[in-house]
Symmetry: C2
Subunit: 234 residues, 2 copies
DNA sequence: GTGGAACCGTGAACTGGTTCACAGAGCCCT
DNA sequence: AGGGCTCTGTGAACCAGTTCACGGTTCCAC
């Protein structure tokens, strides 16, 4: 998408659950301020504490949002794919970034700079209101994750995470839903706030029960209901 | 404050870290849409999942924001005092409340209804932008709490919480900073995601070390540095 | 193809925090 | 002023998840 990126990006944004409701002309305006760039897998986009203040939208590829503890322990907060928007916090308040963002596989991103956008925002309250919606959504998500980690124990947390991953990244296959993010058990541990070994033990139990099968960089869920059941009861 | 509440409320809001920067006329406008009411201690303002969509501001008194797990375990997310604003999420997106709010001690609240405010918002982008700031602030706070709970263990979490409480609710006394929220060790447990007994054990150690003294419904911190030190190392 | 590197599987010992159980302290209501 | 409450202190058994340790797999680069 070397030169046609604007069209693709517009199509993508207009499919966004909130931004999509904006009138066509406003979307064009927005894109007028934006830039498109490609990134290679492994690249770091920014780190927690960095001053950057751009808003980013994933056009294609996969992005990992994470944080490191003082002792180097990592937590993956989210995995993003095409259509997802991130970096809104620093973008909106101009303060340091709240987490790390890195490219998981080759990616194209839309970038919107704070300074080129703020004046525009004042004149377009509709856009501001949409953004309020985006932030509320994000806030609900984070609060939810918070509750999960204090209330649920590992099996439930892991089940929930896998279900969420299937929603965003699962392909339907004859044998079941396949998640083929390059997802090591280590990473799954980081997503659930737990060690590699603990994840392994739970996954193997589920494999024995026929709920899923484990492959190298992928998982196939045969019985999503099995996972849902774990969420419901003790 | 039976009839003069508008003046008091205005004074309070103008001291708010973000809303205070709004021009005087806008503040008056805002207050024109607001209502004042008193609440008795123990009253529930709303529960998670309720449809309510008002924005609330504490004029005086104390409010507890919390959630319950499926099995009835409670987590206190925050304690609010005069000048604090809450309920913005449901207010802004019109969806169900994300947590419970209850009155800890007799309280006066300013209430702003979503429907009477939304049209106004479209015409005053400056207010929308301030609200974006408020949401960013909240998002940073929640993300922070999230990291605390996965990265820090109990002593550090508790130390951090106590320091935060002294900031908002501590009185300076000859012997040290006194927190006299009616704060049972049970509640402290709820705030740190841990049992009453676990809190007790840590507090007693600190008492023996002279960092603080425990009274019935209060704590006196003699050496805040002691707590800060716990945050820094292992 | 082959040698390393990164990932997976699993078991044993350990640990921070829970659960249960019970005894004492302070509080408030009549 | 005394009887019940809720809150505190503490110890013993227990448990989910960690840490450590090590052997086996799969992948990829040369």
């Amino acid at each position: 998408m070397p030169e046609t990126w604007k069209a693709t990006a517009k199509a993508m944004l207009s499919r966004h659950f909130l931004l999509g409701q904006l009138p066509d002309s406003l979307l064009d305006d927005l894109l007028g301020h934006a830039q498109f760039r490609r990134y290679k897998r492994g690249e770091s986009l920014f780190r927690k504490g960095d001053p950057g203040d751009a808003l980013l939208a994933v056009i294609l590829g996969k992005i990992r949002i994470s944080t490191l503890s003082a002792k180097g322990q990592e937590v993956v907060l989210n995995m993003l794919g095409p259509g997802d928007v991130f970096g809104e916090i620093a973008f909106l308040d101009g303060k340091p970034r709240t987490a790390d963002a890195a490219v998981v596989e080759d990616t194209g991103l839309l970038t919107l700079e704070r300074k080129s956008f703020l004046p525009y925002l004042e004149e377009n309250p509709k856009v501001a209101i949409k953004l309020l919606g985006v932030l509320c959504e994000r806030l609900r998500w984070v609060s939810d994750s918070f509750e999960d980690i204090v209330f649920l124990e590992l099996p439930a947390r892991l089940a929930k995470r896998l279900l969420r991953l299937t929603e965003n990244f699962g392909h339907q296959e004859p044998s079941g839903l396949r998640i083929d993010l390059k997802l090591s058990q280590q990473e799954l541990g980081h997503m659930t706030g737990v060690t590699r070994e603990a994840v392994n033990k739970v996954l193997r139990i589920w494999e024995k029960e026929g709920i899923l099968t484990i492959e190298r960089a992928a998982l196939t869920i045969h019985q999503p209901e099995g996972l849902r059941a774990i969420l419901e009861n003790p």
